[in-house]
Amino acid sequence: MDKRVAIIGCAQSHHQYDVQKTREDLVFDVAKEALANAGILREELGTVVTASTDFLDGRTISNVFLSMAVGAFLKDESKVEEDGATALQYALMKLLAGAYDVALVEAHTVGWQFNPHQVSFYTIDPLVDRQVGLLNDISAAAIQARIYMDKYGVSQEDLAAVAVKNLSNAASNPFASRRLPDVSVSEVLKSKLYYEPLRELMISPVTDGCAVVILASEDKVRKLGCCCPVWIEGVGNCQDAYLRDRNLLGMDSLKKASASAFAMAGIQDPFNDLDVLEISERYAHEELMICEALGLAREGRGKELVNKGVTSMCGELPVNPSGGALGADPICATGLVRVVECVKQIRGEADGHQVGSVKRALAHGQFGICAQKNTVVILGGE
C-alpha cells in the first residue's frame, strides 16, 4: 500500500441478549462513544460504511432508519451486507482511493429480534437445500466438525477445551456476553446437545451488539494529532464456493485471504510475527480449523495449541483473549468487535484481558455457513 490508513477511534457495546435499548439507541451510543474516543466531531467524517443485513434486522434496507443515529446526515453512506471486518475493508478502500480521509465503520446485529440461526436457513440454496429443509448454520457446522474430528482424531474433549479457554477468557472481558470463569470441560460436555457433536457451550451465543471503528488516512492522522493510531498493515478477503462444492475439511478461502493479508503486511512467519489473534469462531471446532488455516499449526494439529496452552491468555501466542465469538456473537458486528479488541490490545487498554505488550495483531471475521467468506485484518502499532 502506498498510502497508510490508521484506526483512530473505536467503541463497542456491552454485548448481551435482549439488551434493554432500541436498535437506534444501541447504534447511536456506540457511534457517539467512538467519535469521542477518536477525539473528533461528526463533521470531520467523510464517509460512513455500515454492516447489517435485512433479514437479521427485520427491515428491508436495514440501514435506512439508522443513517441519522450513526451520524451520516449529509455524508457519503453505504451499507455492506457482510461481516464488520469486510465493511472495514470497504471503508479502507474508499480512503486508499483518496475519495475521503475519515471513515466511520459501524456494524450491528440485534439477535433478539429474530433467531439468526433461522436466518441462516434462509441463506441456503432455495432450489435444493431449502426444499430439503435440514440445513442451517449449526447443523452444517456440526457435519463439518464431525468430518474434521474423524479425519484428525480430534475428540469432543478437545472441542470442549476450546470452549473452556474462550469462555473463561470472556469472564475477564466486561463487554462479553457468555462469561463463565470456572467452566470445566465436563460442564461443557454436559450442556444441551443441539446437533451432535455441537453442544450449547460450543456454539456462539445469540447476542445484541454493535461496534464502531473510525479510520483516517495518514495525512489526516497527523493533522488531527491523534496520540495512538493503530495502523492497518494488511487486509485480505476471500469467498468460497457454496457449501455443496466446498472442501469442508479445510478453510480454503481463509488460506487465500490470510495469504494476501500477510503479503500486504510483509509477514512471513505468522506464529512469530503476530502477538495476539482475535478470531471469529462461531463454533469451538472452527478455532482449531482457523488456527491451522492461518498457518499457526500443521493441519489437524490445532488441538495441540489449545491443549499445550500456547493460545491461552498467558501463552506464547494468545488467541481470543476477549473470549472471541464464543463469548459474544452479534453476527455482523463480530468481525468488527475483533478489530476493536485488537486495537485495545495494541493500545494496552484491554482491562482485565491485556496480554502484555502487543505490536502486531490479527483480527478475523467470517460470514456465511461454515465460514464461507473470510476477512483478515492485520493491525500494528506505531
Binding site: S78, A97, Q239
Partner: protein, 413 residues
C-alpha cells in the same frame, strides 16, 4: 482520486415481468457472461466481485453466498453492498473503489432483482418490510385503519412519490400533462432499447393521458413496472483498460450522500424534519462532490447526457434540477421544448430509464451502465447523435433519502 479506472464491459439481460425461463442464479449468470464477453476477458482475469440486490424481494438472505458460483466468486474477494434503491449505484461505485484503491486491477460489479420470485405482485411484503417494524409499532398505539390506508394505500405503488410530485408541481408550476410527456418519452425511448421492459414505439402523451388515475397527479401510465433482470459491469484500472478497450468509459467522479428520511417516518414511527420531499438535499450534495472530483464547474454546459433514476416521471424533472442540469423549477420547460429527447440538447434517460425497466436492485447500476454505453458509443439504436464527453448517472433509494451520483467521461481526468 488515486488512480484512474474505467468501465470496459457492460452486460445486461432482457428485462420482463416474469423471467420464468431461468432461476435467479442463471439470470445473474447471463448478465455476468455478457459483461465478460463485452470486455473480452475471462473470469480468471477478474480480481474482485462486488454484488448486490434487495434480499427481501427474492426471499433468499445473502444470495451472494449461493449465487456467487454464477458470478465467478469462488476463491475471490467479494463484497456485497445493498442500500435499497441505490444498491446498483453503490455496487457500481464499490466496484470502482476496489480498483481505485489499488488493491485489485479488474473488478466485476453485479446487481439484479427477480421480482417474480415473490408470490405477491411487486414483492409487496418485501417492500412494506421497510417500515414493517414501524407499522406494527403504530398499530399498537391505535393507528386507525382509515389513516393507514390514507398514508400507504392511496399512494399504492406510488407511495411518497405522489406527494413529492405534488410538492414539485406546486413550486415549479409543472402540470400533469408534463408528467404524461415524460412517461411517453420513457416508453418511446425504451422501444429503441432491446433490453428494456415496457416498450411502446411512438407512444404519445395523449396515450398516457388515457390511462386510469391512481391518485392525482399519477396515472397508471406513469408508474414503473416491476421487472426481472440483472446487469453487470467490468471495471479496470488505467493500463488494463487502455489495453483491453478502445473507448473505455472513465470514472470521473462519485458521490453518494444520505439525507434525513424523506418519507414522514423515522425509526419507530418518529417524524422527520424534512418538509418538502422534493427538496432532495442529498442529491445536491452528491452532485457537488461528484462534479468537484470530475473537475466540472458548470454542469449545464459540460454534461452531455444524464441517466436519471425516475420510477415516476416527476422524479426525472426533480432530479435533473438537483443534478444542476437545469435551473431550479425549469426542468419541465426544457423538457417541453424537447431538449431532453434523444436528439435534444441534454438527452435524459434515453434508455427509457427506470420508468420503463425497474429491476430495483439493478436499476441504479443500469443507469451507470447505460451512461457508459453512451460514452463508449455502443448503445446501438438509442445512441444519441451527438458526441458524449461527460455523462452523469444517478441513483435514488432508501426512503427517498439515498442518492448516488456517478460521472463518466470519454477521457480520464
Amino acid at each position: 482520486m488515486f488512480r484512474n479506472c474505467a468501465i470496459i464491459g457492460c452486460g445486461q439481460t432482457k428485462h420482463s415481468s416474469r423471467r420464468r425461463d431461468v432461476s435467479v442464479a442463471e439470470l445473474v449468470g447471463q448478465a455476468v457472461d455478457a459483461a465478460l464477453l463485452d470486455a473480452g476477458i475471462t473470469m480468471k482475469d477478474v480480481g474482485c466481485v462486488v454484488s448486490g440486490n434487495m434480499q427481501g424481494f427474492g426471499g433468499v438472505a445473502q444470495p451472494d453466498l449461493w449465487i456467487g458460483d454464477w458470478m465467478g466468486i469462488p476463491g475471490k474477494p467479494a463484497i456485497r453492498i445493498a442500500t435499497g434503491g441505490t444498491t446498483g449505484g453503490s455496487v457500481g461505485q464499490g466496484a470502482c473503489y476496489t480498483v481505485a484503491s489499488g488493491m485489485y486491477d479488474i473488478s466485476l460489479g453485479v446487481a439484479w432483482e427477480k421480482h417474480s420470485d415473490s408470490k405477491e405482485a411487486g414483492a409487496t411484503t418485501g417492500l412494506m418490510h421497510v417500515g414493517m417494524g414501524n407499522l406494527f409499532h403504530a398499530l399498537t398505539y391505535g393507528l386507525s385503519l382509515k389513516n393507514l390506508i390514507a398514508t400507504t394505500a392511496v399512494g399504492a405503488a406510488a407511495g411518497v412519490a405522489v406527494y413529492q410530485a405534488r410538492f414539485y408541481m406546486n413550486r415549479s408550476g409543472c402540470r400533469q400533462e408534463h408528467l404524461d410527456m415524460v412517461a411517453a418519452k420513457a416508453r418511446r425511448n425504451a422501444a429503441k432499447n432491446p433490453y428494456a421492459h415496457l416498450q411502446w414505439p411512438n407512444c404519445q402523451p395523449s396515450d398516457i393521458a388515457k390511462t386510469e388515475l391512481i391518485a392525482f397527479p399519477f396515472r397508471y401510465g406513469h408508474v414503473c413496472p416491476a421487472s426481472d433482470g440483472a446487469s453487470a459491469i467490468v471495471v479496470a484500472e488505467e493500463k488494463t483498460a487502455r489495453k483491453l478497450c478502445k473507448q473505455p468509459a472513465w470514472f470521473l467522479g462519485m458521490g453518494s450522500y444520505s439525507d434525513e428520511e424523506n418519507q414522514l417516518q423515522s425509526e419507530n414511527y418518529g417524524g422527520v424534519g424534512v418538509i418538502d420531499p422534493s427538496e432532495q438535499m442529498g442529491c445536491r450534495v452528491s452532485a457537488q462532490k461528484a462534479y468537484a472530483m470530475a473537475g466540472i464547474t458548470d454542469p449545464q454546459k459540460e454534461i452531455d447526457l444524464a441517466e436519471i433514476y425516475q420510477p415516476f416521471p416527476s422524479q426525472e424533472l426533480i432530479f435533473s434540477e438537483r443534478l444542476g442540469l437545469f435551473d431550479d423549477g425549469t426542468a419541465w420547460r426544457h423538457m417541453e421544448k424537447g431538449e431532453t429527447d434523444i436528439n435534444g440538447r441534454m438527452p435524459i434517460s434515453v434508455s427509457g430509464g427506470v420508468n420503463a425497466t425497474n429491476a430495483i436492485g439493478s436499476s441504479a447500476l443500469q443507469r451507470i451502465l447505460e451512461a457508459a454505453l453512451q460514452v463508449q458509443g455502443k448503445a446501438g439504436e438509442h445512441q444519441v447523435p451527438k458526441k458524449v464527453r461527460k455523462a452523469v448517472a444517478h441513483g435514488w433509494g432508501g426512503v427517498t433519502n439515498y442518492i448516488t451520483v456517478t460521472v463518466l467521461g470519454n477521457s480520464p481526468r
